[in-house]
């Protein structure tokens, strides 16, 4: 694999795991615009443990996941007291706080950043991305996944049906923190360098866009969204700087034409092998593709 191709695969894997981190909360209806903050915690935890405490990657990565999961758990309590746009603002503020803190902390290298001692190759990233994807598909196919999606639609009815709404939301924020931390730790160990400026608000916006444009109804959404957003700018490289303009127009068009995201539950149901042949005993009710 050429350096260019392996670079894209690495970014794709990191973006995919990162997208799933945001997806697990978005699927339950919580928008997290502080993704970069959680990723930064994972990246800096791994960088510091690797460079200052001289630990190998197979120790730093689990510890980095633990650190960002813990932060996700703690932060979920104040954040879940807010709703809608206020939650978006609260998580955004959290992301800004983390990058501001790292930028001013001499322990973590401040604006200079940190060199990460232990290197991991693109193969490890691919394995992590595949495992994460399977994990999220598994989760979404479970009764917990059903509860997550029903919370997204109607919290009151979910509660009456016996779902512990608050517990599920806290669990998803914690899992989201863990996955964002994993993506950050992989970033740190693969690119061997972290700097606070990288984990900025634009990164948080991008990853939320991956998820919203991919679709929050099924685990396919972030997969399609991150493939689309990672590969499209590369394919458009021939257009020079104009590619960002085209990219922006594409995003606006997607929002207008398909606000529910590229992949919806109804689309997956229509493409599912179970529905390739109409059930003979049942009147074939249309499986519509309304959002």
């Amino acid at each position: 694999m050429s350096g260019y191709a392996s670079g894209i695969v690495a970014i794709l894997c990191i973006n995919l795991i990162f997208a799933y981190a945001i997806f697990v909360t978005a699927a339950a209806g919580q928008l997290n615009l502080g993704g970069a903050g959680f990723q930064a915690i994972g990246a800096y935890a791994a960088a510091w443990l690797s460079s200052s405490a001289h630990m190998p990657a197979n120790v730093t990565i689990p510890l980095a996941i633990l650190a960002s999961a813990l932060v996700g758990f703690v932060i979920s309590f104040p954040v879940l007291r807010t709703r809608g746009v206020y939650m978006v603002l609260a998580t955004f503020a959290f992301g800004q706080f983390v990058s501001g803190f790292l930028l001013r902390s001499p322990t973590f290298g401040g604006a200079i950043g940190m060199v990460v001692a232990d290197y991991i190759g693109v193969g490890a990233l691919v394995i992590c991305a595949v495992v994460t994807t399977l994990l999220v598909f598994f989760l979404m196919a479970s009764r917990l996944g059903l509860a997550i999606r029903s919370i997204h639609d109607d919290e009151l009815v979910s509660t009456i049906m016996g779902v512990n709404v608050r517990a599920v939301q806290v669990a998803m924020f914690t899992l989201g923190g863990a996955l964002a931390g994993l993506s950050g730790a992989l970033y740190a160990h693969h690119f061997s360098f972290v700097e606070a400026q990288y984990f900025n608000s634009l990164l948080s916006i991008y990853v939320l866009l991956f998820v919203l444009i991919g679709g929050t109804q099924t685990a396919w959404g972030p997969l399609v969204g991150s493939l689309f957003f990672t590969l499209l700018p590369e394919l458009m490289r021939v257009g020079g700087s104009w590619r960002y303009v085209v990219f922006g127009v594409v995003i606006v068009l997607m929002m207008v034409l398909r606000p529910q995201g590229i992949v919806t539950r109804a689309l997956v149901a229509r493409l599912s092998p179970r529905n390739w042949w109409p059930a003979s005993s049942r009147a074939a009710t249309r499986v519509s593709d309304a959002g």
Binding site: S142, R143, V157, R265, R286
Partner: protein
């Protein structure tokens, strides 16, 4: 031998600001009965349902289900205690398919992390999905399980909500205007279906404006007016009661007028 009440409301009181929407309401729902809860618009019927299912806390009184006080239980634990309900305006999950909406009704029956975390279709060869499909078929709902609920006719969605409420195997099923918006044929079908449900041992408590439906389905009726209980007795004599007549006619409304339904 007197039948033990499955549900007892004792002096249930609720105030919203200065307005008393439930004023020391007390009545029993006998085990295995089919009971109607009626009253003019704004009488507090839906509020009473919300108090029973724990949407709001009580300001006074107590609620007992099968001899157990439930008004202190969190809303999510009441379905496990045996109390299930539907909603006045259809509240199916719009982004869940028909079968997923019905399977959500089974949530309270799933036990432990194993049931929660394993893909639903892997659990004993898809028994959850199979149970949901059988219930839909028993209710005469002939739609594709993966269909989008928003694509279905109103009457079918209304029925799916009843089936969802039944999936938890409740001992008490509370239905908030199940016949509203249904045509006469659908109403008759629903009544027959609910009689079958009751015959399986489920006690019914039904808020309804359609009096012919109430007469057909429910042997007993309680009437609320301005948050107070004004009648508790046989359905056949409800229209002869002076207080009930005054409550309806005094406000120039007739039961079953199909008007606005802000209760």
């Amino acid at each position: 031998m007197p039948v033990e009440p499955i549900l007892s409301l004792k002096q249930v009181t609720k105030r919203f600001g200065g307005l008393t929407v439930a004023d020391q309401v007390s009545f029993d729902v006998p085990q295995g009965s089919r009971m109607a809860l009626i009253g003019p618009n704004g009488a507090g019927k839906t509020t009473l349902f919300n108090l029973m299912s724990g949407v709001y806390p009580l300001d006074g009184g107590s609620i007992w289900l099968e001899g157990r006080q439930i008004d202190g239980l969190p809303s999510r634990q009441r379905i496990g205690a045996g109390l299930s309900r539907s909603f006045q305006n259809i509240r199916l999950m719009p982004h869940l398919s028909v079968i997923e909406n019905v399977m959500l009704g089974q949530h309270a029956k799933a036990s432990g992390l194993g049931d929660l975390m394993t893909p639903i279709l892997w659990q004993r060869a898809g028994r959850w999905r199979q149970m949901a499909i059988e219930r839909l078929e028993a209710a005469g709902i002939d739609v594709h399980p993966d269909a989008e609920v928003s694509s279905l006719p109103y009457g079918v969605r209304k029925k799916i909500e009843v089936v969802r409420a039944l999936m938890s195997s409740p001992s008490l099923l509370m239905l908030d205007e199940p016949a509203a918006g249904l045509n006469p044929r659908e109403t008759a079908e629903l009544s027959a279906f609910l009689k079958d449900v009751a015959a399986d041992g489920v006690t019914l408590l039904v808020v309804e404006h359609d009096m012919s439906f109430v007469h057909d389905l429910c042997e007993r009726t309680v009437v609320l007016n301005f948050g107070r209980l004004i009648y508790n007795g046989a359905t056949r004599s409800v229209q002869d009661d002076a207080a009930v007549r005054e409550a309806y006619l005094g406000s120039r409304r007739v039961a079953g007028d199909g008007g606005d339904r802000a209760a």
